[in-house]
């Protein structure tokens, strides 16, 4: 398939259809509403389910219901709406059903604004809801990568029976870029639904999907199994990209749109004779800690650039365990940090 000029949100929606999305439930919120609008006509066109829910609380619980039926299902929202979904994330994680969630982040806290932001890093990787669990969090830095990560999110969600969230900043959602969509995958046939799914207890014992375990010992066993699964995911699914790290003595760490900006910073710094490299995490959870620690051990310092007050920088510090200085540069409220302000920060290190 050839490249076409496509907007990030539309690309995300269309990629989900190509990945075999069978049902979408969502609620409008800027800057991701184009996802819902695109699916509102494309899903019926493909004979699939689209429903505009009454709230994000309803959306995520509709997703939970459809996930229990064993189909590929997704919702999308932006920061305040994601906050409303957190109870649902926790139930889905504990019940171990697969679901895909898109968060096109906007400025916060509160109603904030509709400018691009990365303020939901903590929420995506550390506090997705109550109890001990993580979602897989995938952060694209281009429209093409958003497409690829949506497809990957469905595959990982199915493989590990977990939630996978694509965490895009508003810039990715609103940007037009040439990109290539994947080929169309058909939706699962009814007889292909997984054996654990709720399909009616015909000729078998009833299937039960719950997140309730009343005895402490049982719930601890459930948690231990969940933790073991998370460790498996961390071992097998950690993803990142590096740029000019071979000989770098200063390392930039940034994700999403900021990762892209920092690539320009690396080029500009190199032109000035500075040995600068970039590590861009693609999975925010699991975080590429091991690789970071290795790079840090032979460097002189790390600068973490984000569109927030400094959230991922905490994970970077944990990863490098003090073996080199780690500094943070963040812009908030929807302000996008530019190379001209990042470069002086680097020079000061």
């Amino acid at each position: 398939m050839a490249k076409e000029l496509i907007e990030g949100n539309v690309a995300i929606a269309e990629a989900a259809i190509r990945a075999g999305l069978e049902a979408f439930y969502g609620y409008p919120i800027t800057p991701q509403t184009e996802i819902l609008e695109h699916l509102s006509w494309r899903m019926p066109q493909e004979g699939r389910v689209f429903l505009q829910a009454e709230s994000e609380i309803a959306s995520i619980n509709m997703v939970y219901g459809a996930a229990c039926a064993g189909v590929r299902v997704m919702t999308s929202s932006s920061s305040p709406g994601i906050s409303l979904m957190q109870e649902g994330f926790s139930y889905i994680a504990c019940s171990e059903v697969p679901a895909v969630v898109i968060n096109v982040m906007r400025g916060g806290p509160g109603l904030g604004n509709v400018q691009p932001s990365q303020g939901d890093y903590f929420q995506a990787v550390k506090m997705a809801g109550h109890g001990d669990f993580h979602m897989i969090a995938l952060a694209p830095a281009s429209v093409q990568e958003a497409i690829d990560l949506v497809v990957l999110a469905f595959d990982l969600a199915d493989r590990y029976r977990t939630i996978a969230m694509v965490v895009a900043d508003g810039a990715i959602g609103q940007m037009m870029e040439p990109a290539e969509l994947p080929p169309m995958r058909p939706v699962r046939r009814p007889e292909e639904r997984p054996t654990w799914a709720l399909t009616g207890a015909k000729g078998r014992k009833p299937n039960i999907i719950t997140s309730l375990y009343l005895s402490a010992e049982t719930l601890e066993r459930v948690n231990l199994a969940l933790q073991a699964k998370l460790r498996r995911i961390a071992a097998q699914e950690t993803r990142w990209k590096e740029y000019r790290t071979e000989d770098a003595e200063l390392l930039l760490v940034a994700f999403g749109t900021v990762g892209r900006i920092c690539q320009t910073v690396v080029r500009e710094a190199r032109a000035l004779g500075m040995r600068v490299g970039l590590l861009r995490p693609i999975t925010l959870w699991p975080f590429p800690s091991t690789r970071l620690a290795a790079l840090a051990s032979r460097g002189r310092g790390i600068l973490v650039v984000e569109m927030n007050a400094g959230q991922m920088v905490e994970d970077v510090r944990l990863a490098v365990e003090g073996c080199c200085p780690v500094q943070s540069y963040g812009r908030m409220g929807g302000v996008i940090p530019l190379p001209d302000e990042i470069l002086p920060e680097l020079k000061n290190m």
């Binding site: 139930y91 399909t199 309730l212």
Partner: protein, 254 residues
Amino acid sequence: MEEMELVYKRPESLTPAHTHYCPGCTHGIIHRLIAEVLDELGVRERTIGIAPVGCSVLAYYYFNVDMAEAAHGRAPAMATGLKRVSPDKVVFTYQGDGDLAAIGTAEIIQAASRGELFTTIFVNNAVYGMTGGQMAPTTLPGQRTTSSPAGREVETAGWPIKVAELIAVLPGTAYVTRQAVLDIPTIRRAKKAIKLAFQTQLAGLGFSMVEIISTCPTNWHMDPKEALEWAKEHMLAYYPLGDTKVSDGVRALM
């Protein structure tokens, strides 16, 4: 030996598990009525139930059908998501009054309004049973609970919600009724209503809901018989029994 006829047995749609319900609690009767209806309609093997958060949170151990456990109040959203991708299945939610008429008000009204093709069994026992008898949206004026110790004051706590009447005004609903399980005649009528509600779903006519006036002897601090009498005298006075919505399509089924 004389040949004997088996006249009463556990419906196939109930498991042999002993329930955790308090002695005299009417949740058990309602479970049995639903199970008998699923058996009679021959749909057990294609039925999916959604249990609530409340005393019936463990209903999935008692119904011999595929089941999921929802977050508090969200069963209608879950049922919506599930039924839309499984239109050939029979889907029901089983919900208490705190679950449906307080925290889950938005979900039930919107699902009913969309005319979702599932059936809701709504158990109105006028209190939050599971958390120890606090005031529910259905608690009667003056009724004492652990969070309205002087009796529900409508000036501050508002009036009890009449759910069957509220839901009935929504155009998406096909069959809405209020029934009770307080003696043999009301139990018989409740079963007929539950059956009609599932038939409404099977015929694809729209949303169907059966509100059932129930008792909570434990939190009402009464013995089971007293509780039944109290419900008849006080609850039925505020919550009249009968159908609040019967669409033309449903009437043709009657």
